[in-house]
């Protein structure tokens, strides 16, 4: 079985570097463009103007040029930063939204590399966030240098545990990880309902955790409305470490081999069971870190429905990024800008934010069926890339 995430060696070895890069990114780029076109059609059919809607999307995600000009001119003339901060707010907010996406996308991508489909990023995200929040609010009086790493570690461990269970069940019993990770999602939702109503509830009416201590917050770099924080750089670091791990270490090679062909890997003496569990632990830990980054860097507390949608978005990210850490980072930035701008689009152009999900669904289909994109745009491409096999049914 060939695998989408491990492209077959190309027959054309002599092609130029630019050609190779274009071949790698043409399908994702065109898939996103086509997704946006489909979104525009939906907007048009619903009776709004897609150009003004996407205009609002753009200024909502990058900020408006006029605001930048005004902000800088006020800063130069009077030294006041208020307008400048407001001008930069949309751009930084998009990066803030992209942060958990990077972690969560990496989580699903590492699973794909080993032939595992982790649909449970959502539950792992939630559990990670709850663990981080617990360490964040229950420990008081610790210095930041101790408290913050502890809170981050708690999130990673919580997610890792939530991922390890389906990983172990897959390795030991051949129980399919898709169903089990979905089940773990629902267990996580119910568990969090209970925790937020009972043991972890802050005083007051709402089912939310108490605010975390200041010593557990990821530091922010700019004046107040801007929530951009250290989490973004941690996410980039995680992406680099994952790249190094997957492509520069023996263990990473084993994981990719198991993903490409488990039978061959087995005959080469690789331990399939250990790799499955290991990958689900890493995947869960990354998803947990996504939750940790969100709670420690942005919200500072956890409420019901905290993880809504991250798990499915993460799948789209991993597919879009071709399960490569660098690709996932780019895809997460794209989603960050889309989601960041969608709020503005909703308030200005009255387009419901859910249009983004429609676009995402289309993008996933186009990525998974590159033949459609190649057909639409008359692209030439390797035939073997088209037959993508990622998952292996319900059994072993």
């Amino acid at each position: 079985m060939s695998n989408l995430t491990v492209p077959a060696p190309s027959a054309e070895k002599k092609e130029s570097k630019i050609g190779a890069i274009w071949r790698a990114i043409s399908v994702p780029v065109l898939a996103v463009v086509t997704g946006l076109i489909v979104g525009a059609i939906v907007i048009l059919v619903s009776g709004e103007n897609p150009i003004s809607a996407y205009g609002a999307l753009f200024t909502g995600s990058f900020g408006s040029p006029a605001a930048y000009v005004e902000g800088f001119s006020i800063w130069f003339s009077s030294g006041q930063t208020g307008a400048l901060v407001r001008a930069f707010y949309p751009l930084t907010e998009s990066l803030v939204i992209a942060t958990p996406y990077i972690f969560a996308g990496l989580a699903v991508a590492v699973g794909f590399r080993c032939g595992l489909f982790n649909i449970g990023a959502e539950g792992q995200f939630f559990i990670g966030a709850l663990c981080s929040a617990f360490v964040g609010y229950s420990l008081r009086g610790l210095p930041m240098i101790v408290h913050l790493p502890l809170a981050i570690l708690a999130g990673a461990l919580g997610g890792a545990l939530w991922g390890a269970i389906p990983g172990y069940l897959k390795a030991k019993f051949g129980a399919h990880e898709v169903v089990n990770t979905i089940m773990m999602n629902w267990i996580a939702f119910r568990l969090s309902d209970w925790l937020l109503k009972g043991p972890m509830k802050a005083s007051g009416f709402r089912p939310v955790t108490p605010n975390i201590a200041a010593s557990a917050e990821l530091p922010r770099f700019f004046p107040d409305p801007i929530r951009f924080n250290l989490g973004f750089f941690l996410a980039l670091l995680a992406a680099y470490l994952l790249y190094w791990f997957l492509f520069k270490t023996t263990l990473g090679f084993e994981i990719r081999s198991v993903g490409a062909n488990p039978d061959a890997a087995k005959y080469a003496g690789m331990n399939i069971i250990r790799n499955f569990v290991l990958v689900m632990v890493i995947s869960g830990a990354l998803a947990g870190l996504a939750g940790a980054a969100q709670v420690l860097g942005v919200d500072h507390w956890v409420g019901q429905g905290f993880s809504a949608g991250y798990g499915f978005d993460a799948i789209a990210l991993a597919l879009l990024g071709h399960s490569h850490p660098a690709g996932v980072v780019l895809a997460a930035l794209l989603f960050g800008f889309l989601r960041g701008g969608a709020t503005n689009m909703q308030s200005i152009a009255r387009i419901p934010i859910d249009i983004i999900s429609i676009i995402q669904g289309m993008v996933i289909i186009f990525i998974a069926a590159p033949a459609i994109i190649r057909g639409l745009y008359r692209l030439r491409g390797a035939k073997d890339d088209d037959e993508a096999v990622l998952t292996r049914g319900w059994g072993k």
Partner: protein
């Protein structure tokens, strides 16, 4: 070669037999420890057997002494477990049944000690709550028997639910709404089938895309059009309850099975029809052949692609019926994300039911029972948070998937694209 296989088989069977016995004894001990020790002696549990508003003949309530029944259940589980370890049985279905029945009966005794509990009401609501799960499961069964996984049935149900209520409200006809739901369900499934058969898109990826698209599209339409217009677009009414003459007069069975709405009856009929089609007709044989060994089926002149298209689209129509249940069969209006994971639970029910229609329906009933039990237990105020009861079906599913209790065997070619 054959000899070796049969030997390992019988060894595996022996081990299986043994582990079943141990599980049963463990269940018996658990019943004793959890319920036996916590049930007060001398208290009665009263089970109401009449449903208010039903036209069944009235019968007296059932009053049973709680503690002795718990002890009886402990004994039954331990005894059957011991017998299983000693002699053993081939069929695993009834062992799972013994586990479920002893556990649930003991649990009810403990929960209802010294209180009154409407049993018929709960059974009736179990059947109702099982219906969308069962329809999702049946959709899964028929697609996967031809080896196409359709994990997108959650999205299909959402879209169908919305289309049903829109069409029914605008045309003021519930039947047109229902047909629209069936049509749209088939249409989305056809798109899924086209992607996975023609383009060989990974079936789970395509299903996930259908789910994301379905959730996004329905939420988009809902907040763009339905919320602002209010009743004008989102008020279809529901299918009325049809009482079947004579049969609905039977106590207990009447209110549970013979006083339901159209979609619930259709579901039960569908289970029977699908069983007959899958196991008693040439089409069913072809479908199963395509699911088990497409190459062999192809060699025999069965059109693998055509069979798969038809089955997946039929599955989509069934999921469309499931979607219609959420709106036309239940509340008469559409809310965002109203399927709430029922599609995925349906897939679990399909696996639990070993990919056959009757099994899938039975497992859906168990999930429906757990769901309605959880609601009732909140009323009884038992000291277990309802969230933990809600987790039970998911945990049970995971246990089932391990294969320790009842191994589920998918169609051999399930999830694999077919290359001629």
């Amino acid at each position: 070669m054959n000899h070796a296989i049969s030997e390992t088989n019988s060894a595996a069977k022996k081990k299986n037999r043994f582990s079943y016995g141990i599980v049963l004894i463990a269940v018996g001990l658990f019943i004793y420890l959890a319920f036996g020790l916590n049930t007060e002696a001398g208290l009665d549990a009263v089970f109401g057997l009449n449903l208010a508003g039903s036209n069944a003949a009235l019968i007296p309530d059932l009053t049973v002494p709680a503690l002795p029944v718990v002890y009886l259940m402990t004994l039954v589980a331990v005894f059957v477990g011991a017998y299983q370890m000693a002699r053993g049985s081939r069929s695993t279905g009834w062992l799972v049944g013994v586990i479920a029945v002893t556990f649930i009966v003991a649990f009810l005794m403990w929960a209802a000690q010294g209180k009154s509990f409407n049993l018929t009401g709960m059974l009736s609501s179990s059947l109702v709550r099982a219906t969308p799960i069962a329809l999702a499961a049946l959709c899964g069964v028929i697609s996967e028997r031809s080896a196409v996984i359709n994990i997108g049935l959650e999205g299909i149900m959402l879209i169908a639910a919305q289309v049903a209520v829109l069409v029914a409200t605008i045309t003021k006809s519930l039947y047109l709404g229902l047909f629209a739901a069936l049509f749209v369900g088939g249409l989305v499934a056809a798109a899924h089938a086209y992607l996975v058969i023609r383009y060989k898109v990974d079936q789970i990826v395509s299903g996930v895309a259908v789910n994301i698209f379905g959730a996004g599209m329905t939420a988009f339409v809902s907040s763009r059009f339905m919320q602002s217009s209010g009743a004008a677009l989102n008020n279809s009414g529901t299918f009325p309850i049809i009482s079947i003459p004579l049969l609905s007069k039977i106590p207990i069975l009447g209110p549970v099975f013979f006083e339901n709405n159209l979609i619930i009856y259709l579901t039960i009929i569908l289970v029977v029809v699908m069983h007959v089609v899958l196991y008693r007709t040439p089409w069913g044989l072809r479908t199963r052949a395509v699911g088990e060994h497409p190459k062999a089926a192809d060699t025999l002149g069965i059109n693998v692609y055509f069979t798969r298209y038809v089955n997946v689209i039929a599955g989509g129509v069934i999921a469309g019926l499931g979607g219609a249940y959420f709106t036309l069969g239940s509340v008469g209006r559409f809310d965002e994300a109203m399927t709430a994971g029922k599609g995925f639970i349906g897939l679990a029910a399909m696996i639990f039911g070993n990919w056959n229609p009757v099994g899938a329906y039975m497992s859906s009933l168990i999930f429906g029972f757990a769901d309605s039990l959880q609601v009732k237990l909140q009323i009884l105020r038992i000291p277990i948070p309802s969230e933990f009861l809600l987790m039970a079906p998911y945990i049970v599913t995971m246990i089932i998937l391990t294969g320790v209790v009842g191994r589920a065997i998918p169609p051999a070619a399930d999830g694999q694209p077919y290359e001629k």
